[in-house]
Amino acid sequence: MPGAHRTRLERLSGQMSDNGPVQIRCPVLNVRRVDAYYAITVVAPGIAERFRSGQFVSVAVGGEHSSTLLRRPFAVHDVKPDYGGTVEFLFSVRGVGTAWLAERRSRDLLDVVGPLGRPFPLPRDPVNCVLVGGGSGGAPLFPLAQSLRRRGCRVDFVLGAASADRVFSAITARRIAETARFTTDDGSFGTRGRVTDVLGRVIEEARSDAVYACGPMPMLRAVTQVAGNHGIPVQVAVEETMACGIGICMTCVIPVVGEDGVTRMVRSCVDGPVFRGEQVRFDDVGTIPFDALGAPGWKGSSAARATEPTRDIA
């Protein structure tokens, strides 16, 4: 098991952070339906103890001889100290992999890697935060809300989805947050419309100092715009498809502007999934912007190359 290598590896690498991922075969504690979603809780102390909100896990599907090779990435919805540490993630059935997961039962073993990715940065001071989730993108906002509350932050929720059964954990959101607003495309729950239709007013009423958001790319783009209009910072967690989740396959890249003003194609899995909203070039997602480092015809300075991020991925 990779866990067994950790101590020695950490000694080998002084830079390695404490919350590097582990790969564990974890027993399933339970599988339950939550509205339109499934929730699986696994017993995974090694992952639970390292986890920080915003990070995700990747789960192998289909068993050892599966013909679906690639892991499925899921945001962590909840971490509890029970049984030494449990981790819960949510998903909807969208293909053979998630259908297989939905059929898991208590005590089955799952091969889980985590925690992966960069967590949400937390404010130093007890400021007012509004958390915006779209569909299953609401999941990682719940452990974030708990962390923010522990720091004395005010938390307000705005959760949106296509319909009532896809709005995420509305009751929990009401319990944790000062206020919780809901929107649905069909008007079956809360306000008919998009999260951004109500976000501006929530920011004003709650005197929010910061926005955290997770959901589909168009929603993150619109939320970033609203936060910008109010002059407050926004952290977004992207939901890109990925093959490996650990930074080697290079398939989950999006264009992001660095501190030095240079756009790079960065990996959502290890450089994200959390980014500062204004640094993501939402309009150019799915393309290689002409001015991105290494784009066709790119003639950047060697200075830009030299400032290629050297930060450790762990």
Binding site: Q23, A60, S67, R71, T241, M242, I248, M250, T251, I288
Partner: protein, 317 residues
């Protein structure tokens, strides 16, 4: 009862002048430069890390979507995204060597001249164990976008240039694409151009169409097919090339998932075996595969790994 004579099999293997402590290496493009996988296992424990193909300049690669899952495999098209050779030599290679790993550096040129320049710079760096030449790059001189590997003469020109620009004590491996008319001819052309060994196979060009949009599932249409789906094809190519060129060392690559798969490639004629797409699915795959392979050898009572190289040729009907 037979006494178990071999408790520990001798795993050491050779690729021409290159000596490796065991035959399990990473496949190029499936392990970055080792740093990401080092969070899951000690990269010095495996035979070598083959690094992602490096180009002369930084490269942003292809637009998304870059990947589609296929039966027992995946299609991908990253477009050789990478930091360029300067950053690779300053940042990535020293890191890998500082971990005590052996480094096979894959290079990808846009032109024959670029291959030569890359070979010069990479082989001048201290500690590079071998250069692997990625021949599956589009040849800019060819308007149809063919790869260097599609024409044995062009492939040979690249290998010859690399060999003449690389330091003479750094072995050169030619990585072959096998969706070509005659893989044995391609192999012979590369060996004739003084490649020290061959790595095979690269991904196969394929397509997957999104059933909802009726558009190709990856940007640009074609992607490289990898994973266990291509393994029998890869083993067959290794077998045929080993048969034609029994003295030429081969790194077998293609859908390796278990220790038994390593055995299969070696029996077909490989002296080392690369783990590729499986790293995406199982980040500790390399050490698991090595452990399983060792167990398989010991269960068979094999004393030296070299004994099984090409065994399928000797025991065949």
């Amino acid at each position: 009862m037979n006494e178990r004579r071999h408790v520990n099999a001798d795993l050491r293997t050779r690729l021409g002048p290159l000596r490796l402590p065991n035959p399990v290496v990473t496949a190029a493009g499936c392990a970055g430069s080792g740093r990401e996988l080092a969070r899951f296992f000690d990269v010095a424990e495996i035979g070598a890390v083959t690094t992602k193909s490096v180009m002369l300049e930084p490269r942003a690669g292809r637009p998304a979507p870059r990947m589609a899952e296929t039966p027992s495999g995946m299609l991908s098209t990253t477009g050789l995204q990478g930091p360029g050779v300067e950053v690779f030599l300053q940042r990535d290679l020293p890191w890998l060597l500082s971990r005590g790993a052996r480094a096979i550096v894959s290079i990808a040129g846009a032109t024959v001249g670029e291959f030569g320049e890359l070979a010069r710079q990479v082989s001048a760096a201290e500690g590079v164990d071998a250069i692997e030449v990625n021949l599956s790059c589009p040849d800019p001189a060819d308007p149809s976008g063919r790869h260097f590997a599609d024409d044995p003469a062009q492939a040979a020109a690249v290998v010859r240039t690399v060999r003449s620009h690389a330091r003479s004590n750094v072995p050169v491996l030619a990585k072959l694409a096998v969706d070509v008319p005659d893989v044995v001819k391609l192999a012979e052309a590369c060996v004739g151009a003084r490649a020290d060994g061959l790595t095979m196979i690269n991904t196969l060009r394929g397509m997957s169409v999104d059933a909802r949009t009726l558009r190709p599932a990856v940007a640009g249409g074609m992607g490289g097919l990898s994973g266990p789906a291509i393994r029998p094809l890869a083993v067959g190519c290794v077998y045929r090339v080993h048969e034609a060129l029994p003295e030429v060392p081969i790194v077998g690559v293609g859908g390796v998932r278990s220790g038994t798969d390593v055995l299969e490639f070696m029996a077909a004629g490989a002296s080392a075996v690369g783990v590729g797409t499986t790293n995406f699915a199982d980040p500790s795959a390399c050490t698991r595969v090595l452990r399983e392979f060792t167990e398989v050898l010991e269960a068979r009572g094999v004393a030296r790994v070299s004994e099984i190289v090409g065994a399928a040729h000797r025991t065949g009907a």
